[in-house]
Symmetry: C2
Subunit: 510 residues, 2 copies
């Protein structure tokens, strides 16, 4: 009812939180009957956007309205432009969020409203968090998830390929050192199938695939570049954040991240909406299972697999899933540059852990079989061993603006390093994924691409006292020091002797 | 792991949202490894507080830290003071919030952590909203609620009376025009029992008891003033927001308000923690039941009643509850000043709706019976009719800095008014509480105390065509216009003829 529009002068401000935020002077807000967290519609010459209100007396003058970058872009405002500001209605989607908190199944319309309001910045942090909380607490039916996928696709861009079919792969992540995309994409492309892969940067990991490949080439490609490169050489590895595919996903993650929750339905919708918007027709999913990964039990992994296959079919993506071993890092290298190096070594036929080769060729083989190539894994191995995959990788690096002559020796790892040694002999009993990631982050990763960790020993390996367990790399002395301190505190590798205890205990007498 | 403390200069900023917020320059934030929504510990000479980080380049200079009022108070900072800023740990309470979202029963420790972190401003809006959402979605056991009440009491002040016993009453609200406290407090005090009542201001209503009584006296009393006045004249009506009783409640409401959710467990804990902190030993609860109130069904009302009684007993408050009729406003007046006027009229023995007298004396009578006075309702009526309650009210008004000689004629209602008339004859079939509130808010309430509405007709009344249904009052012409527009649109009173339809329909031929 409190509808008193005002004309205010736009003033650029920058605040990181909230894509759609405006700051009003307290007096103006009171005149309009607005309070902190109210919503306003901001209009300029036919363009309009909705924003959440913040109130201040010192940051903004009376008669002015502080605008963040996104609002400025939406309205094409120049400093000092006059804007019409009026209280906006309470979004209907809040009622649907409430329904989800109450355990109801949402209608297609309700889901569309929620995603639309998220993308258009109409929901405050409190409301967005209630949505994520509701989905986490009460889940979604497959019908709701399917609607959610469509709503997430429809509120963003899509890549329309002229060539078909379009193959894709994706890992739901959680296991460090998982540089398999840098092997799978060139193998699949070398087999003549088209695989335009969009990847994420690290959110809670030591380095996403986009961070890793960025040490070799440019990953910030436009929709047109992705299309051109894929149709030309058969493969790309691009950063998904540079294109506007299913953009609601990133906004939803903003609320999930501080809570460290991954609502099951949202994970399914997040992956499948991005893949569908990116044009995928065939998809192979990697689902790492193990303690300290996202999927901790085989039962949960199987449920994911079943739902990915069935929802994929519903939206027109033929999907196959592999549950993979996530009990320790894949390969030996963890961190952006060092993972790129290990992947290149594998393509060059150098000595790398067989677990990396096995996992990559199995998944690449599944893609090949979707493309009608029999004995997919064998063919994947052949393409790797023959050097055809390496040649393809060089073409992709070239097309993405990198140096096609790059070799694994050229990749620069942080110049400061320290070996962490065993304090006693025994066997490596376990490796904690989370703690490995924490050490690489302490060393500066993923922001500093040279930060990383190399595992000299993996699970089950015999270790002598004083032998090197792993090596930490960093681009700065102080961060290395911090990472070593973290390593000594966290002890990510547990070494046990074969004899754990003796009974009855023998008292030592000196 | 990212622990790089920095020394920054404090700079006062004002932003309404978030009690514990600091703004850092992007460069400083990056040096410390912080992002938007990170948490920092801010220290000055032994004092320290936790705050949520916001990042900017334009609002704050490098080397400075923007501080909101609450942080300035906590640390006793003067502009330009040097502060030590360091990344804070992720609060343990977030794990407990996650447990609640997963449907687990929280431990006493978990509940204490959550409430402590809320009070100390360690949770961001996203995290706070997830807590409220979790309690709304999954509820709490009575054991959890009891722990919650204790946690909410222990993180604030308490009023310790020298005289006993301490009586109190409370309405969970939702029905407009519920000015009963202005009758109950003087009646109970006139009977010689002590009733120090703390009340709220309007959150979503047209006026809370504190807003209403403020038109007659000062309601911003300190803990000591409440104690002194109650022990002297037997009663007070104070604004709860001016004292620090169970302060987590207001912070939790901040997240409930935009979602318009009242988690059941939180309502119980909110009321009982405030009452216990205010020293109550006996409590009479009013639970209005009806369409368009907080409690829509008698079953839900009974559940509230049972839980209030049982939880009250657990924490040492002898509680009785009355389920009251909430199907239309109580009395005829809705809005701060006009409700004060109607309450004074009742105390002065003037003609007011019997429903207001019945409800007030029934509830006051329940308090009297808790105090050992038999035939409570009869005694309450006697105290009202004899003028003893009016004399007591004058003493209370006097002690709270108002004019003790005030009469109902002196109370000023908004000078602009308009009658809303029936467009056809019939019977008032229903009155929509929400819409009544919306009209008063459109007229300027509760901010403008003169805004209000007087119901000339109530449910079941016979109405002639063109007869006045209700009158709207406002302090400004433009707001009156807005309220009238709202009234014509909302039509809060539904008038039906006795004959709703005739069959077969007679075609009119002219």
């Amino acid at each position: 009812m409190d509808v008193k529009p005002m004309k205010l002068k736009g003033k650029k401000i920058d605040l990181e939180s909230g894509d759609h935020l405006v700051i009003l002077h307290r007096d103006d807000a009171e005149r309009m009957g607005l309070r902190s967290q109210s919503r306003v519609s901001v209009n300029k010459e036919g363009r309009n956007t909705t924003a959440v209100v913040e109130i201040s007396e010192s940051l903004i003058d009376k008669g002015e309205i502080g605008l963040v970058e996104k609002v400025i872009q939406d309205l094409k405002v120049t400093q000092g432009d006059e804007l019409k500001v009026v209280q906006a209605r309470r979004p209907e989607s809040i009622e649907h969020i409430k329904e989800k908190l109450e355990g109801e199944e949402l209608s297609t319309h309700g889901i569309n409203e929620i995603i639309q309001d998220i993308v258009e910045g109409r929901l405050s942090d409190i409301e967005l968090s209630a949505y994520v909380s509701g989905v986490y607490a009460n889940g979604m039916s497959n019908r709701e998830i399917k609607d959610l996928i469509h709503a997430m696709i429809d509120t963003g861009d899509r890549i329309e390929f002229d060539e078909h079919p379009v193959f894709d792969h994706h890992s739901i992540g959680g296991v460090p050192g998982n540089k398999i995309t840098l092997l799978i994409v060139p193998i699949v492309a070398a087999a003549g199938l088209m695989i335009p892969k969009t990847s994420s940067r690290a959110i809670s990991s030591a380095g996403g695939t986009a961070d890793i490949f960025e040490t070799l080439a440019n990953v910030c490609l436009s929709v047109n570049e992705i299309k051109e490169i894929a149709e030309d050489v058969g493969g790309t590895i691009a950063w998904g954040g540079a294109v506007n595919l299913a953009p609601s996903d990133d906004m939803i993650i903003r609320a999930e991240y501080p809570l460290r929750i991954d609502p099951y339905a949202q994970v399914l919708a997040s992956v499948l909406s991005k893949k569908k918007a990116a044009g995928a027709e065939y998809l192979v999913m990697d689902i790492p299972v193990g303690e300290n990964t996202k999927v901790e039990t085989i039962e949960k992994g199987r449920k994911y697999a079943r739902d990915f296959v069935s929802l994929g079919e519903d939206i027109g993506i033929e999907t196959r899933c592999a549950l993979s071993y996530g009990g320790q890092p894949v390969g030996r290298a963890v961190g952006p540059a060092i993972e790129a190096k290990e992947a290149l070594m594998a393509l060059e036929g150098k000595d790398v852990p067989s677990s990396l080769i096995e996992k990559s060729t199995t998944l690449a083989g599944m893609v090949l079989e979707q493309g009608g190539i029999s004995d997919g894994k064998e063919e994947a191995k052949r393409l790797l061993n023959s050097g055809e995959a390496l040649d393809k990788m060089k073409q992709i690096i070239d097309k993405q603006g990198g140096d096609p002559e790059v070799t694994s020796d050229d990749v620069e790892i942080g110049e400061y390093s320290e070996d962490i040694r065993a304090v006693e002999e025994g066997y490596v009993d376990s490796i904690n994924n989370h703690q490995i990631i924490n050490i690489v982050r302490a060393a500066g990763g993923p922001h500093c691409k040279g930060a990383g960790l190399f595992l000299d020993k993996k699970k089950g390996d015999k270790v002598e006292r004083d032998e090197v367990l792993y090596t930490i790399y960093s681009e700065s002395k102080s961060e290395l020091k911090k990472a070593v301190k973290a390593a000594n505190h966290l002890k990510p590798l547990k070494v046990e002797g074969m004899i754990l205890e003796e009974h009855p205990k023998v008292e030592k007498v000196c």
